[in-house]
Assembly symmetry: C2
Amino acid sequence: METTGRRGEFELIARYLAPLAAGAPGALGLLDDAALVTPAAGEDLVVTTDAMVEGVHFPAGEAADSVGRRLLAAGLSDLAAMGARAFAYTIALAIPSAWDEAMRERWIAGFAAGLDRAQQAYAVQLIGGDTVATPGPLWLSLTALGGIARGAALRRSTASPGDTVWVSGSIGDAALGLRAVRGELVMATAPDRRALVERFRHPQPRLELGRRLVGVAAAAADISDGLVADLGHICIASAVTATIETARIPLSPAAAAQIARDPGLWAAVVSGGDDYELVFTAPPGAAEAVRNAAALARTAVSEIGRISGPAGGEGGRRVRVMGPDGRELAVARQGYRHF
Amino acid sequence: METTGRRGEFELIARYLAPLAAGAPGALGLLDDAALVTPAAGEDLVVTTDAMVEGVHFPAGEAADSVGRRLLAAGLSDLAAMGARAFAYTIALAIPSAWDEAMRERWIAGFAAGLDRAQQAYAVQLIGGDTVATPGPLWLSLTALGGIARGAALRRSTASPGDTVWVSGSIGDAALGLRAVRGELVMATAPDRRALVERFRHPQPRLELGRRLVGVAAAAADISDGLVADLGHICIASAVTATIETARIPLSPAAAAQIARDPGLWAAVVSGGDDYELVFTAPPGAAEAVRNAAALARTAVSEIGRISGPAGGEGGRRVRVMGPDGRELAVARQGYRHF
């Protein structure tokens, strides 16, 4: 673990971040050049790196504790999509040099508290990182490490025509919550607002569900860019087409209430990102196995559509969204793009 | 691998970065949520994360190709310090949103060319990452992955009184080269300038030497923060004190010529960073084994001092630097701090 620049930063990080590594012997107390991880026998290592910029991926002024929880949850969500167990992570952090010492301390303390909460929830440990000063906005990157039985990882490229399409939890909450945080959407009730904003701020990576879907699902991705975009990644990687029905997309009560008032919000539900749910396909006849896996993971799942062959797309669309009246919705791909 | 924002960025990255992952099957073509790595049997995984900000860690306007080479070399240098073999890395990249498309393409093409060159030299592969847009300066982070026989990693915390202190290569070149780049130092000759600037821009991680020192050296670190600072990290982690002599510190001909003109530059040599050489200790009687390891790695090594007990420090200094006249130099710790 390294830190650049002022003495104060070194001490803040030793005070607030080093304790997050205390349970990982291979972190070497964040005192060495690199960390050591002993892989479990027969496991592949699963590695993912994500980056977030203040004002781009989360609103400026977002509480440090939420930023920490959300950064770690987003990284773990990628591991969930592969069916991996998560065990460790490293962070890179650029702190605005314009912040004074009190602000730095407050922020790092809050950020560490958020990481700690997510660590406890998902049984992972900080094992290293780097902290620097920047003349720009707050910048964060996280590399998450997990393990999975060799060859068993869920992939995006393994969907087949005839598969059913499923999602976990409820869809669209985070996109509506972000609009509420930005003041772009006025909610019907304060509890609805709280519920949706909470879903944006504190996503729950579906690690347990992902593990239970190994050997059951055919292909999987997490929903970070939006349902249509992430299902589209599966379709591109698998050279197939998907058709989903809005009527079958699971909504939370709060999202359903918003959409009842403004059906135009369907576009945000299917194309907005940040839910960190799983979207996956399963072979024909696997519905009961999927429901059993979900029950064991205590996570709701919903069947929302079907995979067809590469010729199924119309106008080049990989994912067709059928609206409540049975007609196809025109969905603009918004937000993020993966590859 | 993910990318945020404009369509152009997605295509640039697919074009320039995806080929860097072509040799790593576990990168899954950068098309999945995470990458898979199969650890070698009996090996620990070695993980390190570094971050760099334009204008902080390298001068604004530095060639993209050099930035890529240097970022990867810096990450691999941490693996070298542990004695690991390197095999893969992920990157997180924040590209200024103010750059127009032509500038983005030029920069990413150059950056990828620099990574590619370092990949070829050190036999590592890109396996994943994330690219985002930022309103701030260019920001980069790299997580390097390596392997080492279980329990064999070189550590900072294992130096003992009586050990000799060694460094690889020549010391201070990068610090003088950076000063030249910044226009703070006028070199005696153009070839000297070129040689020192080259050492700043294109450091060579001592991976082969690190591997050969496993079982030979007692403790090791890489020199990224400066000789005194990094040897100081060994001393802190090992609860010992080091005494080194400037007369024994290896200088390149170009650095020696500069110092002959201005002996005050010694301070930059011992406290400036970025050389990415190794500093290590060896037990008494191990000098021949060290020299054999260095010969096999075709890397010069020099014995520059000795480790003494925890009571050896004077005025709380962990590292004493004895000048050419036999008197102790006052060395301010400059630049970066690790923990």
